[in-house]
């Protein structure tokens, strides 16, 4: 598998690649991952670092990509050193390791597309140049109906929908932080809180309203960003109610999800899936989120979580107030969330991905040329793959 983004930076695609790799290994397959990273960083043993990443503004954030002669060399060597059955590339149309690997590939290629926003004009312009390389893709996967729609409408391909996986037991058994859950109510926020599209300003405005009637309400914040700037933005009234834990890693995130009464995801756009929602659902934490298409899908139209008008502090504060005052409803939502998250557990998702690998191998032109009958799987676990 090739991950285009640096593993040193947290992100949905990175988490997906590592989670899928572990899920596949759990099913008995041999997996190798190539990703931008420097040697010496603490990486799982199945990861090969491919050099330092450079921040490139992309899709509303800064993407840590590696693209250049060093990356090409590392990719070439990695492909040569391993005899993969299948090459699984993530976001191969971004100028990244995935695109490099695609250009070098000589075996079945499965490509996963994570994003639902239409890409930069530069890529659209380069579409003609990229097309011969993109024709090497055998099978496409999209993590949501939205990401798939982008494939169909803009990028000239269709894709199988396989949702992002989540490590259900990891989040379900996490212990709350000391002192939590606490009386008075705690709302959680997980994500890059300095990035406008993640919606922190909306949440702060909503909390200002709530603070009048709920004096003991606290906001627990986890993620990358400038805590000082956040406290300044919150103002004196709210700053005392903020607890900013910063970037705490997966364990910290799981503990926070187990500690809060409600997770709030007030993002205002640019979301293709919303992994943090599925993580909260796995943890049994009720979710209040903006009514973005992606979130509506994940929260099952509002049955597994509460949806509020995007960008409306008034609606958000009303929804939070209702939910914080209704413990029974929180329990019911938590149960619905857990049931839904179970369908996204990594072993379940990994099996679906293996079905795509098997189809890609069956559709391998080299197999046709060699006169070998198409591979037909006899059942789950009957064949061990080497995906790379």
């Amino acid at each position: 598998m090739v991950c285009p983004y640096s593993l040193a930076t947290p992100g949905g695609v990175q988490a997906h690649v590592l989670g899928l790799a572990k899920g596949l290994r759990g099913l008995g397959h041999q997996v190798e991952v190539l990703a931008p990273a420097t040697t010496g960083s603490s990486l799982p043993e199945f990861v090969t670092p491919a050099g330092r990443a450079v921040g490139v503004p992309y899709n509303g954030s800064v993407a840590p990509l590696a693209f250049g002669p060093v990356a090409v060399n590392r990719a070439r060597r990695w492909l040569r050193d391993h005899d993969f059955d299948v090459l699984h590339l993530h976001e191969p149309d971004s100028p990244s390791l995935s695109l490099i690997a695609l250009a070098l590939a000589d075996r079945p290629v499965v490509a996963t597309f994570h994003f639902a926003t239409v890409r930069s004009w530069a890529l659209a312009a380069a579409h003609g140049l990229l097309q011969p390389t993109m024709e090497k893709i055998t099978a496409r996967i999209a993590v949501s109906p939205l990401a798939r729609r982008v494939q169909v409408e803009c990028l000239g391909g269709d894709a199988v929908e396989i949702p992002n996986g989540v490590d259900v037991s990891y989040f379900a058994r996490a212990q709350p932080l000391p002192g939590y859950p606490r009386a008075g109510g705690t709302v959680g926020f997980v994500g890059r809180f300095g990035e406008p599209r993640k919606g922190m300003p909306v949440l702060l405005a909503a909390l200002r309203r709530l603070a009048r009637t709920r004096p003991d309400l606290r906001l627990l914040v986890v993620g990358h960003g400038d805590g000082t700037a956040l406290r300044r933005a919150a103002g004196p009234a709210l700053a005392s109610r903020l607890r900013v834990l910063g970037a705490v890693g997966d364990e910290g995130k799981a503990a926070v999800l187990a500690s809060v009464d409600v997770l709030c995801v007030p993002a205002i756009g640019g979301e293709s899936f919303g992994i943090v929602l599925s993580e909260a659902m796995a943890a049994g934490t009720p979710v209040v989120a903006s009514d973005l298409d992606a979130f509506r899908l994940v929260l099952d139209g509002g049955r597994a979580g509460v949806l509020v008008s995007t960008g409306s502090p008034a609606a958000l504060s009303a929804a939070l107030d209702d939910l914080l005052g209704d413990p029974e409803r929180r329990v019911a939502l938590a149960a619905a969330g857990r049931r839904r998250a179970a369908t996204w557990d990594w072993p379940v998702v990994a099996r679906r991905v293996v079905q795509v690998y098997e189809t890609a191998v069956a559709a391998d032109p080299r197999r046709l040329a060699a006169g070998v009958a198409p591979f037909v799987a006899a059942g789950a676990g009957s064949r061990r793959y080497r995906p790379g």
């Binding site: 899908l297 839904r340 079905q355 189809t359």
Partner: protein, 172 residues
């Protein structure tokens, strides 16, 4: 001077044409291989259905003539195949799976999912091939030769392929 420029242009054109021809060749092979995989997936689905002959529910739902028809279509090729496979898909969609034993129901669902994947893979290959064949240069120079244009394989997909994430209203 004009001759040099003319030769350069011709040379560039020839290189472009050769590249397009190679690409087209690769795409035709890719499409053939994808069809082989789709064919295998459809056959597997039919086999799982046939293999479930012990299941009274499935026997009631699936007409023996339908299965015989799919055998015949296998021999005749793609044209009649869509119709037969669509019919099988339609029958399977309205089948009450609770009447099947779990292992069999699981195998059936697995076979149906693989048909969906194989169809995407095949249609993607067809789309890329048709896109290249429609380029002006390819048409004028008749780079596609006598190879027939591939056709999409259009069958209805089972709803479960959306895995619990459904767009309200129109399907994706």
């Amino acid at each position: 001077m004009a001759v040099t420029v003319g030769l350069l242009v011709l040379g560039a054109g020839a290189v472009g044409a050769m590249r397009a021809a190679t690409r087209l060749d690769r795409l035709h092979v890719r499409t053939d291989a994808a069809w082989a995989a789709l064919d295998a997936a459809l056959c597997r689905r039919a086999r799982v259905v046939r293999g479930a002959e012990g299941s009274a529910a499935l026997r009631r739902a699936v007409d023996a003539a339908l299965l015989a028809g799919s055998d015949a279509a296998l021999r005749t090729g793609a044209a009649g195949r869509e119709e037969v496979e669509n019919e099988l898909g339609r029958v399977l969609a309205i089948l009450d799976r609770r009447g099947l034993e779990p292992a069999r129901a699981g195998r059936l669902a697995d076979a149906e999912q693989r048909v969906v994947i194989a169809r995407r893979v095949y249609n993607d290959a067809v789309r890329d091939t048709l896109a290249l064949r429609s380029h002006r240069m390819v048409r004028w120079l008749r780079l596609a030769g006598t190879a027939a244009a591939p056709r999409y394989f259009e069958i209805a997909e089972p709803e479960s392929s959306h895995d619990g994430l459904e767009l309200d209203g129109a399907g994706a």
